[in-house]
Symmetry: D2
Subunit: 325 residues, 4 copies
Amino acid sequence: MIKYAIILGNLGNTCDRFLSAGYKDQPSKETMIRQASGISGVKAVELVGTWDVTKDNVDEIGGLLSKFGLTCASIIPDHFSQKRWGKGAFTSKDASIRAQALDETYAAAEMARVLKCPLINLWPGQDGYDYAFQADYRKERRWIVEAVSEAAKANPDIKFSLEYKVKEPRTHSFMARAADTLLIAKETGLANVGVTIDTGHALAGYENLAESAVILSDYGRKLFHMHFNDNYRSWDDDMIVGSVHFVEYVELLFWLKEIGYDSWYSMDQYPYREDGQEALRASVEFLQGVDAMLDARSMAELRAIIAKGDPIESTRWIRGKLFRK
Amino acid sequence: MIKYAIILGNLGNTCDRFLSAGYKDQPSKETMIRQASGISGVKAVELVGTWDVTKDNVDEIGGLLSKFGLTCASIIPDHFSQKRWGKGAFTSKDASIRAQALDETYAAAEMARVLKCPLINLWPGQDGYDYAFQADYRKERRWIVEAVSEAAKANPDIKFSLEYKVKEPRTHSFMARAADTLLIAKETGLANVGVTIDTGHALAGYENLAESAVILSDYGRKLFHMHFNDNYRSWDDDMIVGSVHFVEYVELLFWLKEIGYDSWYSMDQYPYREDGQEALRASVEFLQGVDAMLDARSMAELRAIIAKGDPIESTRWIRGKLFRK
Amino acid sequence: MIKYAIILGNLGNTCDRFLSAGYKDQPSKETMIRQASGISGVKAVELVGTWDVTKDNVDEIGGLLSKFGLTCASIIPDHFSQKRWGKGAFTSKDASIRAQALDETYAAAEMARVLKCPLINLWPGQDGYDYAFQADYRKERRWIVEAVSEAAKANPDIKFSLEYKVKEPRTHSFMARAADTLLIAKETGLANVGVTIDTGHALAGYENLAESAVILSDYGRKLFHMHFNDNYRSWDDDMIVGSVHFVEYVELLFWLKEIGYDSWYSMDQYPYREDGQEALRASVEFLQGVDAMLDARSMAELRAIIAKGDPIESTRWIRGKLFRK
Amino acid sequence: MIKYAIILGNLGNTCDRFLSAGYKDQPSKETMIRQASGISGVKAVELVGTWDVTKDNVDEIGGLLSKFGLTCASIIPDHFSQKRWGKGAFTSKDASIRAQALDETYAAAEMARVLKCPLINLWPGQDGYDYAFQADYRKERRWIVEAVSEAAKANPDIKFSLEYKVKEPRTHSFMARAADTLLIAKETGLANVGVTIDTGHALAGYENLAESAVILSDYGRKLFHMHFNDNYRSWDDDMIVGSVHFVEYVELLFWLKEIGYDSWYSMDQYPYREDGQEALRASVEFLQGVDAMLDARSMAELRAIIAKGDPIESTRWIRGKLFRK
């Protein structure tokens, strides 16, 4: 039984560098939480630090989640939305900023405990570089390992999941792809450090979604969390799931079942110009459709198809689903 | 009623730069033509100069086509598969090669008449450049216009359709995208010069397939021909149609109906490791499935969806097709 | 003698979708204009509607430009930074928004006259689409032609230059590439409508910068304006010119001289994390360096190299410049 | 002192899928080896199995290398150029093919001993997949680890270096990027298994060359070998080094010095339409120019620039080199 979640802020206003005030109006926290609970199948939300949750409002947010029957699937500490993080959080060349990035992580862990949230999703989006001769690849990568290790060691009751992304807001991220992020997770030597796949980040990095999930699972069961959205493979367009691709999601969900992934399927979109709740519902409904397609018989058929590896058979199977009478 | 065709050579051996002898064995012409006729819905083939047809075997090929109830949808003159074309055909810096490229085009027109084939598909793949400071963009582009104009003026009974491709075998083609190729077609001032969309070439150039079809149609009904295949949007992978994308093809076929495109839907693939006939059949069956989906009711629904332009509605429509009970 | 300009806002604050309040502080208009005048070689600025100039402050801005010895190279009407443009300006499905987009263009023309500015640079960034079945490619493209025609016809003393960009903020722009935008310019039939190349937009669309300049020039001298920046070829990173590429800019400046381009070389960057003035100065200095390299002797050498088209020679020439003693 | 090598076959004929007979004529082995020795700075060649060296001609090749004063830097076993490898070598679903892939590796090790060659460069180009539901990501990845482990354990006197490539000839390779290939190397637990960076493969995968080198070095000194060529960042164009990029190579060579890389700098190009020897010489001369630029003073300057990380400074440094008087 798939557990669906959404990132709460996806229901709020969205902006970009040209329209910085945003494409929509910002609803109240209660409105957003109510809307989340109104999406059939959604049982939890993810909360972004600063944007959604701070130590000042954490109790209030917890109350609202309870009121609407939701739990907190993860907290994403704010390492990207304030001026101080502009040149990096864990990898800022300024030691005091690096210390603040760690503080922010600890604070997120505290909030997680308040909300009985099991996982911190770390997306230090500013930790990367833009230009040649800007980063000390050796030293700065090590800083990430040290910071993650320290936070995870100090909070063994919480999982820390590293979300990779090939680029944006920097032209290059340190945690860019599944395997390089897995290397960091493994280097910590800690069982509570793993990796998050965001389907859009993986597609933009020319990864095969299913393969990345299998690699993370096989090297020590390190696939901790999943973010879902869609795009045109060259940028993190954060679109409705299934609006561009179909086969990839079927293959991904097939393999998530095969490897026994049992954590959240969480929506992470930027519905700039769409109704937020409807856009998230559309994604959940798409995944529910794919999930229903993957019944025991389909799973067995697909296993047999993979064993032979002939695209004549796999594409026939897909057409059978697309065009069934 | 959609008319399907295939490029005959898709049924033959395929090679690449690493496995130059090819992944398969080369069947006889008769075998390939018989196989083409065995794909339900296929009524014609396209023939590539040198590879499939020459003035020496054109009568024999014509006889085989008749025998198996096929016609010739187009001839693609060989402007790419011989050493002499290596540095360009219409844009070779060697005037004698340019003359030969034109001769080859005339020869194709002759063969077209023998085969009652209405269209020459020009894909001068070597006409481009690899390095900076290699091409004289002004002069060489003009050479293409001049050659195409001359050939088309001399053969007014034949359509000449220019097939664009963003790159390969050169790192940059002169006829790279829909609009720049349309400019060349229009510059000839000839009604019998138009443009071919190869879906894979367009996807690799980050074009929206449907939009390119509409542009070519709107600027003087210049969409003359269509090649179908699929890929991962960054290279001309020449895969089975529908193996990667679905929504794009639905939108493309919708618009091909809207603009009244009535020429061939021709498969152009490189089934390196698959059974050729099965791979082509798979593509035709996929397009037949999409075509059947686009009945009058669907067309009306999609027109209404486009008029509003809300992705909530379009993605709901798509899910309705994907997951219908 | 190359005339350099900058887009004034490049000296101001910059934000993105994650750090919407911006990476820097916003200086006063006077500070920005003074800084612009402090970049050696820069003689003009481009002004963005709403951000930099409105009918309320146009006289004040004009005064400041005079005070600091600058002219106005172009005005870029605001068709992208307000909620009302979120779903398109010239191609909004709402006729009243389309009317407002035209009003904004007329207002820019008025301001241009006040500032003795010869050119309106139209970048209707929101005019595109994100999803399949969202745009009516036929109708909406026509709306652009009609709006541009009307504005340009009504303001024959002003040049209107259409700036293309393959994507962002929409996943697909209507004016996406050099040739499709040229088609629009030509369709107006007006001598005062042309095209702007932004080097970053062209690189992100896999265009060869020099080739695009030549095409626009050759089809009726339609290259009206140039924006300069650099990127990694897959997104509009808006970086310092020459920070990633070198050869491309040498080839571009060579051809700009060959075709007799005599309008502005204007910097268009997003120095999110850098000192704005220094980042712009760096770009101008890079172009000045390339320009100095292209003396009469170099031009003659490069003409000879292009005539032969051998990359052995062109790369030797480049190494000679890179590694001269 | 940098040691330069070339892949011998770069001096021979080259073909692609459209011009399968090749763009040039095939010279004799002696001619190619003589030409290699005629490139100033080149002290070794890499030999490709089947194409360049087999057990039948290995003594003859060894004699020719001696005669022309060259050594053998690496052998690249043929896991890609014969029909039997078409659907994979180490990951073929056919166990007998997998056994043959291992045999081929052992045979290469034997030849390496004959030639006193210290390294086997494994590029199993056919080990990947094209379509969804074609590969068993779990099982097939494990087959690679097992085969490499067995070969490397049995030949402890030889280094085995895994060359990654994001795609081609398959649409997806199993060893696709630096980090996922490093994971395989580490999983063998063997000191004589490392990774090869091909600059073109890394660029096509949106890797930063220098960062990949540092990562491989830092996780256990696993950077064993380097292949050099250039491209436009979206495909393995195999062009002359420095024909497209400059800054990237400066940064790469800076870091190769910093991490103490002391193995070969080997050219790996496909000069389809250029004189092979001249194209390889051009690349070596480019790297020699960059190397000379990176004297002790430059190294110190660049270290200071990286420590601050300000692109204003790094781009000024680059301009200083580009435009020095």
